[in-house]
Each structure stands twice: as C-alpha cells, then as structure tokens.
C-alpha cells in the first residue's frame, strides 16, 4: 500500500510542476508590470540611496539583464525558495510566510472540516426530510449564508458575541500574557479561533449542503438500501451506514476544491479578527505595495492548495474501495 501511495504522491507532484511554472510566469509578469523595480521598492523602504548605489544593487540582483535572463533568475530563486526581501515586515519573504503559515493552516483546516461537517449534516437532514418545510428551510438558509459577505457575517458575530455577550475575545489568536502550558495555550487559541472559523465555515457551507443532499437522495433510492431494509436493520443504522456513508464520497471530493476559496476568504477574516496569518500578511503587503511579499504569498497559497488537494485525494482513495491505481489493484 505504501508503495502505491508513494508513487501516487510522486505522480501528483510531477503533475503540479507545470501549474507552478505557469503561476511563476504569471507572477513574474505581474512584477514586471509594476512601476519601478525591486530596487526602487527596496530603497524606498530602507531609506533611499544614490543612483550609483541603485545601479550596483541592480547589477548584484541581476536586474540589469534582459527579460528572458531575468525570468530565469527569478525561476531559480523560486525553486530555491528565495522569494526576496519584504520591506513591509523587514525580513526575507520566506521567513515572513513561514511564521504566519501555521496560524492560517490551523484556521483554514478547521474551517474546511467544520464547513464540510455542518454542510453534510444539514444536507443529510434536508435529504431525509425532502420536500418538507425543513428541507426548504435548510436549503434556503444555506443559500442565504452563502450570499452574505464573510466579513459582514464576522462583524455581526463580533457585535453579538463579543460586544453584547462577551463570550469570545475580540482579536488576535492568543491572549497576551495568557497561559503558557501546552493545554492552556491550545485552549486559549481555540477560544480565539471559534468565531473566525465559524464565520468561514458558515459562509462556505452551502456547497456541501447541496452536494450531500443530492447524494443522499440518490443513495436513499439505491438497491442496497432496500436490501438492508429487507434484512430488518433498524432505520438509524441504515441511514448512517447505508445512506449517509456512501453519500459522503462526493463531499470529500469537493473538500480540496474549496481550499482556494477559503484561503481567499481568510484574507478578509484575518483582517476582521486580527489573526496574524497569511491572509493578514497579504493585506499588509498589498497596503504597503510590497510586491515581492505579494508574489511570495501568491506562490505559497498556490502550493498550499496543491498540497491540500493531494491530501484530500489520498483520503478519498482510502475511503472509496472502488478507487484503484493504474494496475487495477486497490490503492
């Protein structure tokens, strides 16, 4: 099994390379389009220098070369993970991203799982109570939540749960001078993440809701459910094992596809809740026109989506016994 998994991962990563290349081309084009180059930005951020100094920097960084050469230099930098220097946060881009990445992954991962869980649960209920007002109510609620701007929902949560009820903290990911032991810190972080994760999950829930509802309506009518009833299995067990479980597969497939949306949403949510993650770093970069940082985050975001899709595909292969590798044996 591990042999197949290994080759599967390797194959997928290889397939990802053209995508990364194209993205690199796009990002390079974007950087070229900007007025002024990296040296100008660097000097502007670090206090200026004379023309001669600028020219020397350009020579050092290879910015005086022709376009194709500059692209190759850029490519080399990308693949060696040297994404340049960020003036907005005064540290190498790679380092800035690395610091912020875990918070975003934590928030996004929880949001994806929660959104899928809520969507599947309510989609399932809608399917079982199909045609009744419960079904309509659930479907409409999903549509309405999906139509709300996520920052707006977040702000409303803040008004209700932070201002009026004081149940949750306003900002940040951890309390300053908070608990230092592992469990205490974990709980503190979790407490801070409840509202942002909930906001993200509710906004993107509608897709899973619709998927699960459709899938369960299909499985409900399948022959093995009839056979299970013929065997006298109780209704609850049939719903769990024979209707819901096969219906989850399309939902799992979709998990990866929503990652890009959630990552984009996290930019706004991190800004609303002041979470120090990749999203708020992106905002900072854009606000201060720190293009190397923006470019770096674009690339990192893309890579993150690729990795999440890979993980989801692996999970799906474990869950659906009908998925085989090229040689026809179960993965």
């Amino acid at each position: 099994m591990t042999r197949h998994t290994g080759s599967f991962i390797a194959r997928r990563l290889l397939q990802a390379i053209p995508v990364i290349l194209i993205v690199a081309v796009g990002v390079f084009a974007l950087l070229e389009l900007a007025e002024g180059d990296a040296v100008d930005a660097f000097l502007a951020g670090t206090g200026g220098g004379d023309v001669a100094f600028a020219e020397r920097l350009r020579q050092d960084w290879g910015l005086d070369q022709s376009l194709p050469v500059r692209f190759l230099i850029y490519l080399e930098a990308v693949f060696t993970l040297d994404l340049g220097y960020s003036v907005a946060v005064s540290m190498p881009v790679m380092q800035a991203i690395a610091i912020r990445l875990p918070n975003t992954i934590l928030m996004m991962g929880s949001a994806i799982l929660l959104s899928a869980a809520l969507g599947s649960f309510f989609g399932g209920i809608a399917a079982l109570k199909r045609g009744t007002p419960v079904d309509t109510g659930i479907t409409v609620t999903g549509l309405v939540l999906n139509a709300m701007p996520n920052f707006w929902l977040g702000l409303i949560f803040i008004v209700v749960f932070v201002v009026k009820l004081s149940w949750f903290p306003l900002a940040g990911i951890a309390t300053i001078d908070g608990p230092t032991d592992f469990l205490g810190r974990a709980a503190d972080i979790a407490w801070h993440l409840v509202l942002p994760v909930l906001t993200l999950a509710l906004t993107y829930m509608a897709l899973y809701l619709r998927l699960m509802r459709g899938a369960m309506i299909e499985t409900q009518a399948s022959e093995w459910v009839r056979a299970a009833r013929a065997r006298g299995l109780p209704r609850g067990r049939i719903i769990r094992r024979h209707i819901a479980r096969p219906a989850l597969l399309p939902v799992v497939t979709m998990l990866g596809l929503q990652t890009g949306n959630l990552l984009g949403g996290s930019v706004v949510i991190e800004s609303v809740f002041s979470i120090p993650g990749l999203g708020s770093l992106a905002y900072q970069a854009v606000a201060q026109r720190d293009l190397p940082l923006v470019a770096g985050i674009l690339l990192a975001g893309t890579l993150l989506v690729i990795v999440v899709n890979l993980v989801v595909d692996l999970a799906y292969a474990r869950l659906d016994p009908r998925v085989t590798d090229d040689r026809g044996r179960a993965a």
Partner: protein, 270 residues
C-alpha cells in the same frame, strides 16, 4: 413561466429593483454621496431628509446605499461577463481543437484554478492600481476557469453528434463549425453558472472595497462596511445595512441562476 418557482421570481424581482435603483441613482439621491450633508452619527428613521441617518463624517447613508448599487452591479455583471466570455472562448478552443492546444489550455486553466481567486485579484489590484476598470479586469481574470471547463466538457460530448459532421462535410472550416454549430448547444449548462459567477464577482468586489482596495472615487457597499467598522459598537447599523444589500444582490442572482438552471435541465435529459 411558472416553472421559475418562488425563488426564481423573488430573485428576478429583487435584481430588477436593484438595477432600477442603480440606473436611477442620480434621480433618487441627487448629488455626490460622499458629500458631508448633515451632522455626524444621525440615527436612522429620525430625519426624513436622511432616512437612514448619517455616518461618523456626516455623509448620508441612504444616498451612499443608492449609489453603491451602481458599483456592485456594474463590477459584478461586467466582471462575470468577462470571465464567462474568456471561459467560453478558451473552452471552445480546447474542446474543439484538442491535441496540444487542449493540453496547454487545460494546464493554464488548472493553474488559474489552483491560485486562490481572491489572492490573485488582490495582487492584480495591488499592481495595477485600484480603479473600477482594473477591478473588473482582476475579478474577470480570476473567475474564468469554471466556465472554460464546463464549456470544454460540453463541446467534447457534442462534437460527435450528427449535425456537426454534417457541417464538416459541407466544408465549413473547423473553427466556424465550433462557434456556429456546436457552441450554442454547449451554452445551456453555462446559464446555470452565470448566477454563481455574478454572485462571486459581487462578493469579491465588496471584499476588495472592504479592505480599502476599491475605487476611491466611488461609493461601494463594501467600503461602507469598512467605514462602519470603526464605530461598530455604537452604530452597528452602519455595518449591517450595506452588508444586507450585498447579501440581497448575491442571493437574487443565485436564485435566478438556480431557477434558470433547473428550468433548462429537464429539457436536456432526453
């Protein structure tokens, strides 16, 4: 026509209302909505000259809401139109020409689909500057992959049908066959995507405006929410009202898209 259902009619009505408001904005609320017109922090429903009150700078909320309709609808519809247009062209070329053209186009599509949409729009606005045309361009460029995939899939399945062969036999050049014969049939499922695309475009625009990256010369609902955030504790309505408008616009477009998608679906299952 009744097959549109309650949702479809509600969506159509709400969108119609919004379009009317956008077109008649200058009539309903003449003047520049960014002008300071009264004392700050006037509560809503107290002064009928300013029905929704004023914000912390004394600007009329009602006027801003009315004019904000323009930006949201314009950007939403234009960006979606662009995205769908690009998607149709790419999808048709890929589906019809196959071979290496298809491979390359699909890789590019995959790349655009993998990049987080909002981050890409963010980056583009940051590089190109925050003006309405740029925003439309940025959103359009990030949203076309879904349409391209769908059109390509449809074309691939329709290509083998008889009427295509007939056109080919009659000597039509391949691209002409693609666009004249095959494309109209392939467009049906795209109709269902229109609702989603427009809705997403409106949300991206409002998010960009919320982050301060909207067109500074225009009033946008997203920008209003950002503005109201500063006084969230004492005047939450400044946040609630513009957000509701965005939700309403996106919801009506989604409902329309759903209703039309469902209406066309039965005809296709033949």
């Amino acid at each position: 026509m009744t097959r549109l259902g309650f949702g479809g009619w509600f969506g159509l009505g709400a969108l119609g209302l919004l379009v009317l408001v956008a077109l008649a904005a200058d009539l309903i609320a003449p003047g520049d909505p960014l002008d300071i017109v009264a004392r700050p922090m006037l509560p809503p429903f107290t002064d009928w000259a300013h029905p929704l009150g004023t914000d912390q700078l004394g600007r009329d909320v009602f006027a801003a809401m009315i004019h904000g309709t323009r930006v949201s609808l314009l950007v939403g519809l234009a960006a979606a139109a662009g995205a769908i247009g690009i998607g149709i062209v790419v999808g048709t070329l890929a589906g019809f020409l196959t071979g290496w053209v298809d491979d390359v186009l699909m890789r590019v599509t995959e790349a655009f689909q993998t990049v987080p949409t909002f981050l890409l729009a963010l980056a583009m606005v940051s590089v190109l500057g925050a003006s309405t045309p740029n925003i439309i361009l940025a959103i359009g460029i990030s949203s076309w992959p879904q349409t391209a995939r769908l059109v390509r899939a449809e074309i691939l399945s329709l290509k083998s049908r008889d009427y295509v062969d007939a056109a080919r036999m009659a000597g039509m050049r391949p691209l002409m066959v693609a666009f004249r014969e095959v494309l109209p049939g392939a467009l049906q499922p795209v109709i269902a995507l229109v609702g989603v695309t427009v809705g997403a475009a409106i949300l991206v625009e409002s998010s960009l405006a919320f982050l301060g990256l909207g067109d500074p010369n225009e009033v946008s609902w997203g920008g209003m929410v950002a503005n109201g955030r500063a006084v969230l504790r004492i005047a939450p309505h400044l946040v609630v009202i513009p957000g509701l408008a965005v939700a309403l616009a996106v919801l009506s477009v989604s409902l329309i898209g759903d209703a039309f998608g469902r209406r066309l679906a039965p005809a296709r299952e033949r």
